[in-house]
């Protein structure tokens, strides 16, 4: 692999400025087949908290079944957890949905499950899909093909997220695989994204100049953590009035204004 990592030190020092919070909006748990098994609720919140992250979002592939456990595990910490999901669209674009309430996240999950391609997960090929509780105990294995794609086109996924008052973010747009630009060539003009995510491999200022045509969107970076060590890498610092989805939405809007 190699290459330098960006984001963490800057993110954490910036967070010390008043009004700024350090936020990592893309974290997988042990429920994602490609994540390590120690991405359990308690370990995730302890690691994020230790690194000074103040808000995280749980974004497993095509499921929200571990989000509540992470929310509960975070109650002992000074850490806010947003229930989220990373949906695979029919074009194999990854779109992150973030929600205020667990009930909205569950509704999104129901839409995703209804449209998820059929098939059973093969643990040997793709990895285990562990549903855990807030004590890091195994509740069950999710048998669905979470690595698969839904039948929902990207516009429908974004609309469904917005229909549940959530925020829609195009994941890792700088990557070739599973990104909206990699799969579709460009971001459609009529797609109402709330932000675009840059992977931690590319510094945000470089991303803004490389993707100058998308200055209409807020640019954020996130870890896309699949193991504990990755949590907080590339975390974004945002000026937020609170920890609600409406505060995040406002912070995204202010990012667009301030960078244009």
């Amino acid at each position: 692999m190699g290459g330098s990592e960006h984001g963490t030190p800057l993110a954490i020092t910036k967070a010390k400025q008043p009004g700024f919070v350090s936020i990592d909006l893309h974290i997988h748990t042990c429920l994602s087949p490609c994540a390590t098994l120690d991405m359990t609720p308690r370990k995730i919140v302890a690691e994020a908290s230790r690194k000074g992250i103040e808000i995280i979002a749980v974004t497993d592939h095509n499921t929200t079944e571990n989000a509540l456990a992470v929310i509960k595990a975070a109650r002992e910490f000074d850490l806010h957890v947003i229930p989220g999901i990373e949906v695979t669209t029919s074009e194999e674009v990854h779109i992150i949905g973030l929600f205020e309430e667990m009930s909205q996240a569950r509704e999104m999950q129901a839409i995703v499950y209804k449209n998820l391609q059929e098939g059973m997960n093969d643990e040997d090929l793709f990895g285990m899909q562990v549903v855990a509780n807030e004590h890091d105990e195994v509740e069950k294995m999710n048998k669905r093909l979470l690595i698969g794609a839904t039948l929902l086109p990207v516009h429908e996924v974004v609309d469904a997220i917005h229909g549940l008052d959530g925020l829609a973010i195009a994941a890792h747009i700088d990557r070739e695989r599973f990104s909206i630009i990699g799969q579709l060539g460009f971001i459609p003009n009529d797609l109402k994204l709330d932000a675009v995510e840059i992977s931690r491999r590319l510094p945000l200022d470089q991303a803004r100049s490389r993707f100058r045509e998308y200055e209409r969107f807020a640019f954020i970076s996130a870890s896309d953590a699949h193991d504990l060590e990755e949590i907080g890498k590339g975390a974004t610092c945002l000026q937020m009035a609170g920890t609600h989805i409406k505060d995040l939405k406002q912070a995204f809007e202010e990012l667009v204004v301030s960078s244009s």
């Binding site: 029919s90 194999e92 391609q117 098939g119 090929l125 793709f126 690595i147 794609a149 695989r177």
Partner: protein, 118 residues
């Protein structure tokens, strides 16, 4: 037609694939760059033509019991992809041809023609 014959005729670069895995009969072909589409549409023993070099291709190929994967345009597989293909024993082949031309050549060889064993 055996995979070995296809490798010879189309001058494919064999990146992984043991001798016995090249001796299998190819049941047909499937060309797609969407993993989910391959999961949904490819059939057992098919030869898969794709530009995707990601290690997920190997997992999908094994899941669908495909006989091999051909990467087009001389695309070089990622290191992890080769490692996974070696472990799983699935032939990973490279063609310098673009997809359109390669699929045309395969079809000429009789791969994928319904009811006509090649």
């Amino acid at each position: 037609m055996k995979l070995r014959d296809i490798v010879e005729v189309l001058k494919l670069d064999v990146r992984t694939g043991s001798s016995d895995r090249l001796d299998v009969e190819v049941t047909g072909g499937y060309a797609s760059d969407l993993m989910s589409d391959v999961i949904a549409g490819a059939e057992e023993g098919n030869l898969w033509v794709t530009l995707q070099t990601h290690q997920n291709t190997v997992a999908v190929g094994v899941m669908k019991s495909l006989c091999g994967i051909i990467l087009v345009n001389g695309r070089e597989p990622e290191k992890e992809t080769i490692q996974k293909a070696e472990v799983q024993g699935i032939p990973l082949l490279i063609s310098t041809m673009p997809t359109f031309e390669l699929v045309g050549r395969l079809f000429e060889l009789g791969i994928g023609k319904k009811g006509k064993p090649a």
